[in-house]
Every structure is written in C-alpha cells, then in structure tokens.
C-alpha cells in the first residue's frame, strides 16, 4: 500500500492527480512525490476503467470479439478492428480483396487524422490555449460525419470483419473525402501559425520531458512518442500490411526527444496521412469488398501475432488458438501501456507544471492502457 497523501519522512509532498482530473483525459490516477515544485517520482495507478477485455474475448467468437476492441483505444477504434481482422485472416489464410484493402487503409488514415486532431486540440487546451480545441473539433467532426455515413457510427465503427469490410462504401464517400482533403490541406499551415510558431508554446514544450533513444527502446515506447526521439518504429514501413508497402509516404522522425519533437511528429504525420489518402482516394479498385468466409470461423491450432500502427503506436494482437471457435487466449499489446510506463522516467527532475505538457505529448488514452 502507498501513502495516499501527506508528507514523506524525507519531507516531500505527495500529491494525487486524478482519477478525476481535467488533464488526464480519462480516469488515470498519478501519485506524485514533490520536492518543492520538482517532481521526484510519478507513480501511475491504473484500473479505473479496466474491463478485462482479454478475458471477455476468450468467450467470444472470432467475429464477435472485434467489436469489443473498438472500446480499447476509442480514438483509433478503426485501427484496433483492423489489427484483429488481420490477425484472424492470418490464421484463416484468407486473401482480402484489393478493394477492401484500399478501403481499410483509407479509413485507417482518416482515423489517424481524427485522432491526432483531438490530441492536438486537447493538448493545447491542457497547456492553456483554448482556440485550437475548436479548430481541431471542427475538422474532426467532418471526419466523423464521413465515418458515420459509411460505417454507421462515429466513434466505435466496427466496420471491419474478417475477410474485408462489413459493407460497401457510401456513394458519397469519395467526393466527401476529396473535399475534406482539399480544405484540410490548407488548415494545417493555419495551425502552424496558431501553435507551432507560437513562442510561448515553444518555450513550454522545448526541453520538457526529454526521452533518450535508449530509454525509448528499453521502455518499449512506440509511435510518435518514440519517433520524437528518433527511433524508427513505424510498423507501416517496417512490416507493411495491406497496401502500405506500395504507397509513397515518409516515416516522420525527429531527434529532439522532448515534448516539442513529439508534437512535431504528430503534426507532420497528419500531412503524411493526407498524402496516403490522396494516393488512394481517386482510384479505389472495383470488386468485392469482402472475401468469402465461412459463417462460423475456426482458427487452426497455433499462435498468431499481428502488429499494426495505430495513432498512438504499435498495437499487437496475439491470438492463441486451440482450434475452436473462440480464442484460447488473446493478448493486446497496447501502445499506451508501454508509453505510460516511461512517464516516471521523463518526469523526474521536471516541474509539476510541465507534467501536463509531458502527459499531453505522450497522447495517453486510458481505456487503451487499462483494457
């Protein structure tokens, strides 16, 4: 047991942040040991939104369990579904039709933009700038509308099924995505003026929460968090899935390792997502949107592992099958869990006021961490 509050024998103050705190964006509980204003230790306490999704999946069939995973990282629900669908397809050895592959990647990248937009707005609000929040939500709303039209839902899409996607694209999809991309391209430079070039913002982010290359790898950081330290870890580039291998886009790497570097990685990633969408949206191949699969799926006995790149980093789905209709054991290696573990390391020695900037740029989504 830990001391919930009070003063340690060394005279340090113990401060609780959360579980209900506006800057944690979810029910995360941090117990912080402070010496004056300097952080000596950050101890995360998890589990406030733990639903034991892994246990739940053990009693769900391979078609059913995908729906539960939307509730993990609800900001990139689509990419979670994608990972699970890919893992099941790997076990079934099903070839996904080209049309479904392109649809999946298009929606993945739209999800990535939507997720980064929300992060951008919320993080700016945490450190004191309120305007970006409205801009970010305006853009995100457009993506949500596109999603709603095609998938029927705005957040928990559940559009992926093993073998392809649930139904064909809405006839409006292409036109709406194109018009969104057209106006959004210019918005990114507008954002740059709002925050990226803002000297107050830069001073708050620069040299805050510096993460070294060795620590990033050792702590298992992935996604923009690790790429801000210059660790090449984009699964889309390293272990391409679907059509990513044929696409022309860059893996964004920054070398600073501080909050500003992580911020820049995400901003530049949104531009790369636009690039990917532009390459695909004009010629979506004709054909089936779903491969023919049996009504009841049975995976052969064995182990299957699939890695994908979500908006927050590497998501791993590990299915152990005993040959039945439900997984024997399933493990989600969620990016947020490992990214959170580094918080103590980067926060030590920093100021309490900077903790929000560090947490903001780690882009923590609590249901993803707790599962």
């Amino acid at each position: 047991m830990f001391e919930e509050q009070g003063i340690t024998p060394e005279g340090d103050l113990i401060v609780n942040v959360g579980p209900q705190h506006p800057a944690t964006h979810g029910v995360l509980h941090l117990v912080i040991t402070l010496s004056g204003e300097t952080i000596k230790k950050v101890e995360p306490h998890l589990g406030y939104i733990h639903r034991s999704i892994e246990k739940m999946c053990e009693s769900l069939t391979y078609r059913q369990f995908i729906y539960v995973t939307s509730r993990m990282d609800y900001l990139s629900a689509h990419i979670n579904n994608h990972a699970c669908a890919l893992c099941v397809e790997k076990g079934l050895q099903v070839e996904v039709p080209p049309r479904a592959q392109v649809i999946r990647v298009l929606l993945d990248e739209l999800t990535r933009i939507a997720s980064h937009e929300l992060w951008w707005g919320a993080m700016a609000m945490d450190i004191g700038a309120f305007t970006p929040f409205f801009h970010a939500f305006r853009e995100r709303e457009t993506i949500n509308d596109i999603m709603e039209e095609t998938c029927g839902a705005r957040l928990t899409m559940n559009y992926m099924v093993p073998g392809g996607v649930m139904q064909d694209l809405h006839p409006n999809f292409q036109a709406r995505v194109k018009s969104f991309i057209q106006q959004y391209k210019h918005k990114i430079s507008e954002y740059a003026e709002l925050l990226t070039g803002n000297i107050i913002f830069k001073n708050r982010m620069k040299n805050v929460g510096v993460l070294s290359v060795e620590d990033a790898i050792s702590y298992g950081c992935t996604g923009p968090t690790a790429r801000g330290s210059g660790v090449s870890c984009d699964i889309r580039k390293l272990y391409p899935y679907e059509v990513y291998g044929k696409l022309d886009f860059e893996e964004i790497l920054e070398t600073g390792g501080d909050s500003l570097a992580r911020y820049m990685v995400r901003i530049r990633e949104m531009q790369q997502s636009i690039r990917v969408i532009e390459q695909l949206v004009d010629d979506i191949p004709e054909g089936d949107f779903q491969a023919k699969t049996k009504a009841v799926l049975k995976l052969p006995k064995g182990e299957f592992y699939q890695r994908v790149e979500t908006a927050r980093g590497e998501l791993g789905v590990y299915i152990v099958s005993e040959g039945g209709t439900t997984p024997y054991r399933i493990k989600f290696r969620s990016p947020g869990f490992s990214n959170l573990s580094v918080l103590d390391k980067i926060a030590r020695g920093g100021k309490l006021g900077d903790l929000v900037a560090m947490m903001g740029t780690l882009d923590l989504v609590i249901p993803d961490i707790d599962r």
Partner: protein, 152 residues
Amino acid sequence: MQNDELQANVSQLLTTATFEEGGDWLTVNVGADELLPLASQLRDDQALTFNYLFCLTCIDWKTHLTMVYHLTSTQYRHSLVLKVKLDRDRPAVESLAFVWRTAEFHEREVYELFGVDFIHHPDLRLLILPDGWEGKNPLRKDFEDPINMIRL
C-alpha cells in the same frame, strides 16, 4: 538474420534450449532458471542485439503456465519468441525488468492477472486490480466471478 542463423547463435549461448518453427518467428523454449542469463546475453550480444521487448504475456494451459516474451532488434529487425514453462501451483521466474525496462509494467500486469511471482522485480505490486484484491487471478482459466462474468 534468418531463423536458422538465429537458431545457431542462440544454441551457442544456451545448449539446453529447444527450438520450434512454424509461426511468424523462431520460438525458443528455455528453463525458468536459464531465462535471465540468456535474456541479458540476447540483448548484449553484438550480432543479435535484441534490445526491444515488444510483448510480454502469460498463457494458462490448465496444467502449467507459459510465459511468452516477444523480442526484436531495432538494429537488425529480426525477431524471436522466448517461452518459459512454469509450475501452475507456485509459478516463479526471474524478473527481466533490469534487462528491458518495459518488462516492469508488463510483469506487474502478469503478476496480478496470472499470479506469477517475479523474483527480484523492483516494484511488484498490484497495477490494475484494486488495492486489497485477494484471492484468485482473473486471467486464470479456473477464475469464476458469478456477479460480473456473463456466460454466453
């Protein structure tokens, strides 16, 4: 490095290791007491450099538990799976938290959900489950919770 080269290299480091192929990656089965020395060697060996532990989990096979470690090298991009068989009644294995820091959190998760004791873990406490949780480990196959678990 290809699987056969990896196998040759690993069997030099540990002669008692047994190998399995078939999945995406080469699987190495090791004994619980051999894990820690092998893990440090896998990380420090110049030709292998398995510096990134990307997944750590446990499987309950009803007769025994299996710890599964997925390793990769950010330098050479080859991957490897380590498996350790543990006794189900008193599962204990050396902690790898000082080899790969990410293991610290993952081992805490496995500790509470499977009841595996990690020897020399820096901070082995409950992480996800509420303080004061006693009794069974939720991800074990024989765990029953009549109130919260719904059988379909």
